[in-house]
């Protein structure tokens, strides 16, 4: 047993997601990434005296839908609280958040791993708050806090609706943590409630990592890992933290509770020990905001807007349809492709052929043209017709390939094209026999070679026969008839 196998890692994830809305959480300033600094600010989000916040109805709806998608409870009553602390990127010196009565409670995120296994991790809560502004630490050589003499603040992000999701400590490896985050990200994308882009900061996450001897039930001392800016960072940072803690314990030391910042370039985490006293946020209900009362009727109306979820698709694709993990993931992660695929399966009742067409020729054409399959001239009904034509052996695979190209260009129904242009496969033995005899007659050289034992010239002869039939002959029949005539 290796040292690593003597321990079990226990990981909890905390992530922040900026909600996709037109305007900010409590004011009408535009919620958009990458605007000119300090141009989307007003008295409310700058905390000018007397300004009053009013919640954004769309943000509340996004929260309820996200909660429903992960099976959370939506309590009838919830409220906003003030979380008090000082930080220059937070103009009010408090953050409007939710303390003891969040909009959603509980829930579970189910995820899949690369080998197809399904895992799950319960959520403690998802609550709604506002984002802070963005500081650039200046005066130091590398833009980091260490060594900086002042900071430059852009308040465009201050007041952007922010979802905070806290998981239970039920994740046990870096791979599971990444799979958990990917699943949450896919779910939010499917709901359309966020862009969830780690590179733009609309998805940010921290991990609480601890280890314990395998089989132990008590939790070890945890370290909180911050500054993970990509899924790759999450993977590396957690792996590195588990190894660091095991090394400490193995050499007789004790893990210290602390916050550590991940340095992606150096591949190490660094302690961010704060000189301040332990946080004391003195939460209290925000007197400027009245409570939310969310009734069953509103919840049910929103429940009806929840689209098929990525994890549900994954289970259907790999279970009922028999696709592999890679195919299922490819369909799910390709924007509208899964929806198009689902429609093709509905029409054709043939998931395997639908997969081959959608992930094969159609995806290739989409890549070449830069046009999404769902925006091309191809409709699921046409794909269904094409599959039926192949299934009934009306056309062979060569003709099918040509038809896909033509459907892409907007030539319409493949069934109509086949009928109009007489492209149906010829499986009439007497007609094919005619082509076979003609080709044998015209190619005495290769025929002699074949008879002398060079059987690989058969491929050439089959090609000639297919050509003579204008591609319509049933290739299997051609092969067997040719063989019979030459022997």
């Amino acid at each position: 047993m290796s040292v690593m196998e003597k321990y079990e890692a226990v990981i909890g994830i905390e992530c922040h997601v900026e909600l996709k809305t037109e305007s900010k959480m409590f004011c009408g300033c535009r919620n958009v990434f990458g605007a000119e600094p300090n141009t989307n600010v007003c008295p409310v989000c700058l905390a000018l005296p007397g300004a009053l916040p009013v919640p954004n109805a769309a943000a509340i709806e996004h929260m309820i839908r996200a909660g429903l998608a992960v099976g959370a409870t939506i309590p009838t009553f919830s409220k906003f609280d003030r979380k008090n602390y000082f930080y220059p990127d937070m103009p009010k010196d408090y953050q409007i958040s939710q303390f003891d009565m969040p909009i959603t409670q509980g829930g579970v995120i189910r995820y899949w791993l690369e080998d197809g296994r399904i895992g799950e991790c319960r959520l403690t809560r998802i609550h709604l708050e506002e984002d802070t502004g963005k500081s650039t630490h200046a005066g130091s050589t590398d833009g980091r806090i260490a060594g900086s003499t002042f900071s430059l603040v852009d308040y465009n992000r201050a007041g952007v609706p922010l979802m905070e999701c806290v998981s239970e400590p039920e994740i046990h490896s870096a791979q599971e943590a990444v799979a958990f985050l990917e699943s949450f990200r896919r779910t939010l994308l499917a709901l359309g409630v966020s862009d969830v882009k780690m590179e733009e900061g609309s998805l940010r996450c921290d991990a609480n990592v601890s280890i314990r001897p395998l089989g132990a039930t008590e939790l070890g001392t945890k370290a909180e890992i911050k500054n993970m800016n990509s899924f790759r960072s999450v993977q590396r940072a957690i792996e590195s933290e588990i190894a660091r803690q095991i090394e400490i314990v193995e050499s007789g030391g004790r893990v210290v509770q602390e916050t550590r910042g991940w340095d992606e370039a150096r591949g190490v985490s660094v302690s961010m020990r704060s000189k301040e006293q332990a946080h004391d946020y003195r939460y209290f209900p925000d007197p400027d905001l009245v409570p939310l009362e969310i009734g069953a009727e509103r919840v049910n109306a929103l429940r009806a807007t929840i689209p098929p979820l990525p994890i549900e698709r994954f289970e259907r694709y790999t279970g009922t349809y028999g696709l592999n993990v890679k195919q299922a993931t490819q369909l799910i992660d390709n924007g509208s492709l899964a929806e198009f695929f689902d429609a093709c399966v509905r029409v054709s009742k043939n998931p395997q052929s639908a997969t081959n067409f959608v992930l094969g020729d159609l995806s290739r054409l989409a890549n070449e043209s830069g046009i999404a399959v769902s925006d091309s001239g191809v409709s699921p009904e046409h794909v269904g017709e094409l599959i039926a034509l192949v299934e009934s052996k009306t056309i062979n695979s060569k003709i099918a390939k040509d038809l896909v190209e033509r459907m892409w260009k907007g030539d319409g129904s493949p069934k109509a094209i086949v009928e109009r242009e007489g492209l149906a496969q010829t499986s009439d033995p007497s007609a094919i026999e005619g082509f076979v005899l003609a080709v044998i007659e015209a190619n005495p050289g290769p025929v002699a070679e074949y008879k002398a034992g060079k059987t690989n010239v058969a491929g050439f002869l089959v090609g000639q026969i297919m050509k003579a039939s204008k591609g319509k002959a049933d290739p299997a029949l051609v092969q067997s008839l040719l063989k019979a005539k030459l022997e």
């Binding site: 009408g28 900086s148 852009d154 009362e293």
Partner: protein, 97 residues
Amino acid sequence: MSSPKIDVAYVAKLARIALTDEEITRFGSQLGDLLEHVAALEKLDVSAIAATAQVVESRNVDRPDIVGESLKRDVVLSMAPSKQGAFFRVPQIIGES
């Protein structure tokens, strides 16, 4: 009933208010008096009253997700004690090394 205690020095520190020792003593007793007054409520039987987070009766006051006017940046920055280019300039963040 013992008079409620409040750690004035700690609260002042959290609120970033500098107080002298004399002020800490004086405010301590004043805040203590206030809390004692509020503590009188503990004598009432409130078992039949539901806890509340808001005295206002209204619920679900929200607004549609529509973009409104923001302020002009030069107006915004003219209110800043210190600025640099398009940004607010603030002192080095204390407490982090």
